[in-house]
């Protein structure tokens, strides 16, 4: 029962209520612990499952034991690096992703357009940082998605100056950060670490916290480096997978429309889908969306306000410069900028890609 009697602050009342009801009705309370999941501590080495499952608001990143060497960002045993083909733009931050899945658990992969179904006890770790003037990677923040019994919990951690550890920052923080741009130049940007709610602002389906990135086809890099096979060997992904064609990277050798749709999927569709935080917009940008208007083609704005930029349609086919999508991607002004969170500079490569895609449409374009 250990995993099923988790008491965190926010759930205290519900759990207390549940316990009282169970005390009142002992015959229905589920019996003993004999069928509880066995601890997989022997397989997880230093990973602290108790902190992952029951730790509440754990104050320091180190307490999870996800890293063998924190300062070097070297993962613990059974914590595996992974990369996405199409990745969310985050102010040119370089992101290092790790995944931990408790040994012996099943990962669900039935829907290739959905995120893989990770079992309770899993953790997704994403560290954001920039190379410093000497080219040494310097982490700014690490965001955790912990799969607890009550659901996914998102927690942001900000690194100490000496990189010895990172501290929980529930309320987020805005701070000046030295960013390194793709051309190697350095620029100070006003970097926003999201607060716990803002994590959910993106990581939300039907108002329930959920991962975004690890979709099977976005993990399938298709370049022969074998990420899927490596994750299978590590026991993260099951041996047998459904057919999962590659979702291409922004600079991959792939059709323009596929790259543009992959970009929109990972940068926009976490809100812009029928169950997401932007469900009310009617603009739906998942990789598999097949309704032209929902994709923005000839779609008028609903609640864009000054985000319309005086333009009539989310996508005016053949005319990127008349499309609201490009206007909002090309602004960093709150109230105009899209995405609303996590971006304080423009993604020039993304703008070029989406601009080229829209310009290539003819006026009767339909999505592919």
């Amino acid at each position: 029962m250990a995993r099923n009697s988790v008491i965190t602050k926010s759930f205290a009342r519900t759990v207390m209520l549940a316990s009282l009801v169970m005390m009142a009705l002992p015959a229905l309370s589920g019996g003993d612990d004999s069928d509880a999941p066995q601890s997989s501590a022997t397989n997880s080495q230093s990973v602290n499952e108790e902190a992952i499952l029951n730790g509440g608001y754990v104050r320091n990143l180190s307490e999870f034991g996800l890293f063998a060497d924190l300062t070097a960002l070297e993962p613990a045993n059974n914590v595996h690096p992974y990369a996405l083909n199409a990745a969310l733009f985050s102010d040119y931050a370089q992101k290092k992703r790790l995944i931990y899945v408790p040994a012996g658990s099943d990962v669900g992969v039935d829907d290739i357009n959905a995120v893989v179904q990770l079992p309770v006890g899993s953790v997704l770790v994403k560290t954001f940082g920039y190379p410093d003037a000497e080219g040494v990677y310097k982490p700014v923040e690490t965001r955790l998605l912990l799969h607890r019994a009550e659901g996914w919990v998102a927690l942001p951690y900000i690194w100490n100056e000496d990189r010895s550890d990172a501290k929980l920052a529930l309320g987020g923080r805005r701070m000046m950060v030295d960013a390194t741009l793709p051309d190697g130049s350095r620029q100070q940007i006003s970097y926003a670490v999201p607060n716990k709610n803002q994590c959910k602002g993106c990581h939300s389906l039907d108002n329930i916290v959920t991962p975004i990135g690890p979709k099977l086809r976005n993990l399938n890099n298709g370049d022969g480096s074998g990420q899927i096979a490596r994750l299978q060997k590590a026991g993260v992904l099951p041996d047998i997978l459904p057919d999962h064609p590659v979702m291409p990277a922004i600079d991959a050798q792939a059709p323009l429309a596929d790259r543009a749709r992959a970009y929109l999927d990972i940068n926009c569709s976490h809100c812009h889908n029928r169950k997401g935080p932007a469900s009310n917009s009617g603009l739906f940008l998942t990789y598999q969306e097949d309704n032209a208007v929902a994709l923005g083609i000839g779609k008028r704005p609903v609640a864009a306000g000054r985000g319309s930029g005086g333009r009539d349609f989310a996508i005016a086919p053949g005319h990127a410069d008349q499309s609201i999508m490009l206007y909002r991607m090309g602004s960093i002004e709150p109230g105009i900028a899209m995405p609303e969170l996590g971006r304080n500079v423009n993604d020039e490569a993304g703008l070029a890609l989406i601009g080229a895609w829209i310009d290539a449409m003819d006026s009767s374009a339909k999505p592919e």
Binding site: S10, R13, G171, G172, Q198, P277, V302, G305, E333
Partner: protein, 407 residues
């Protein structure tokens, strides 16, 4: 939209009896005070995160200087200030987020404070059922500007929305905007110097009453738009409002539907059915006091119904109106009608079958159009005789617990 509910499958009377006093126990609720001092952003946001159901977050007097949007995602929390002039959340320096305050949890009450100069919307609540907005002010202090945020108070995709005693000034779209929601009351509120004062859009079952809508471009709008998850807006009552002097030139950013609202519109209905407009006071609305039309733009949505139907206009007081109609073709229409247009105008689509009727003793003009997308220049206008109108929409009521929070 309710995030979770604890309904034991073995929900016996015994269990419920045990549970009830615990749910209601005030001993568990606590008060969290947040002062308007340095570091307000992180302190207030942490308070909003750490609050638990039943808690009340008390905002101190003074100005909270904020750099980013705030958000609340805990059910059953009250956020209370010292009054809409005494407690001010100042977003003039906002650097991120699409709104000042975002609420995504149920049973929340927001009361007695102000937000000013948010970069995007003021307060947005999405999928937040049973929400109460009470005695709030949302204002863009530089007056009407295209660069102001879109909506002041912005509940969307929610059930049971109560807005009471709110003041919204300067929104570049709608001051109080309720979208894609169900069971709504907007009352005792004042909207001025917005493009739209109050707007009910793609929503079902709304009462908009006892409000003041003055000096907007359009006073009160009841709209339905295509290509949205919830559409087919219906059952909206607009009554006992003061809708006068809506004389602010339209400053909405182009592309938005409200950019097409003519200056000087009192109540405007687009493509809704079963709308009752009664007992309002209209005056000095230069386009018209009541405008009832279909959706005029092209659309690609087989599920969308663009025609206004079953609109009943009754017992309103009509002052001066129609003396400078700002809609396309309005000037020519006024010239043809002797210099002004009537205070009540309908596009006439579907004729008598549309059941658009008025009992008010003022001229009521049909444009005699056959489709909603026809321009006014193709109108074949004629006066519609006043007829007896029977109001039959039921009053909207909120769950008693919501009203009790205000009392």
């Amino acid at each position: 939209m309710v995030k979770f509910s604890f309904v034991p499958s073995f929900g016996t009377v015994f269990a419920v009896a045990l549970a009830a006093p615990i749910m209601a126990s005030p001993a568990m609720a606590k008060t969290i005070n947040v002062a308007a001092e340095d570091g307000a952003q992180e302190r207030l946001q942490e308070a909003l995160i750490l609050a638990e159901t039943g808690d009340e977050i008390i905002l101190g007097k003074g100005t909270f200087v904020l750099s980013d949007g705030l958000s609340l995602d805990v059910d059953g929390v009250t956020v209370r200030g010292a009054g809409p002039d005494a407690t001010v959340l100042d977003f003039t320096g906002q650097q991120g987020s699409g709104e000042g305050l975002l609420v995504t949890s149920d049973n929340v009450m927001l009361r007695d404070f102000a937000l000013i100069n948010t970069k995007g919307d003021g307060i947005k609540s999405k999928g937040a059922d049973n929400i109460v907005y009470y005695n709030l002010r949302v204002e863009w202090t530089g007056g009407p500007k295209t660069s102001n945020g879109a909506y002041g108070i912005y509940p969307v995709e929610s059930e049971n929305v109560l807005v009471d005693k709110a003041v919204v000034i300067g929104a570049s779209d709608a001051g109080i905007y309720v979208g894609q929601s169900r069971n709504i009351i907007v009352r005792n509120s004042t909207a001025s110097y917005n493009v739209a004062g109050i707007e009910i859009e793609n929503s079902f079952d709304a009462d908009v009453h006892s409000n003041i809508a003055m000096h907007n471009t359009g006073g009160i709008l009841v709209f339905d738009l295509p290509n949205l998850p919830q559409q087919g807006g219906h059952n909206v009552r607009v009554f006992s409002n003061r809708v006068t002097d809506n004389d602010t030139p339209n400053f909405a950013p182009a592309g938005n539907i409200v950019a097409s609202v003519p200056m000087g519109s009192g109540v405007m209905v687009i493509a809704n059915r079963d709308v009752e407009i009664f007992g309002n006071v209209f005056d000095n609305n230069s386009s018209a006091n009541v405008i009832v039309v279909g959706y005029q733009q092209k659309f690609d949505d087989p599920n969308y119904q663009p025609v206004a139907r079953n609109v009943r206009v009754d017992q309103n007081k009509h002052g001066k109106a129609g003396y400078a109609p700002a809609f396309p073709g309005g000037a020519q229409l006024a010239a043809a009608l002797g210099g002004a247009v009537p205070p009540i105008i309908w596009d006439g689509v579907e004729g008598e079958a549309a059941n658009v009727n008025s009992s008010d003793p003022v001229p009521f003009l049909s444009l005699g159009l056959t489709t909603s997308s026809q321009p006014v220049s193709e109108a074949q206008p004629f006066m519609v005789a006043a007829s007896k109108v029977t109001l039959n929409l039921p009053a909207i009521t909120m769950p008693e617990a919501m009203e009790a929070k205000i009392r």
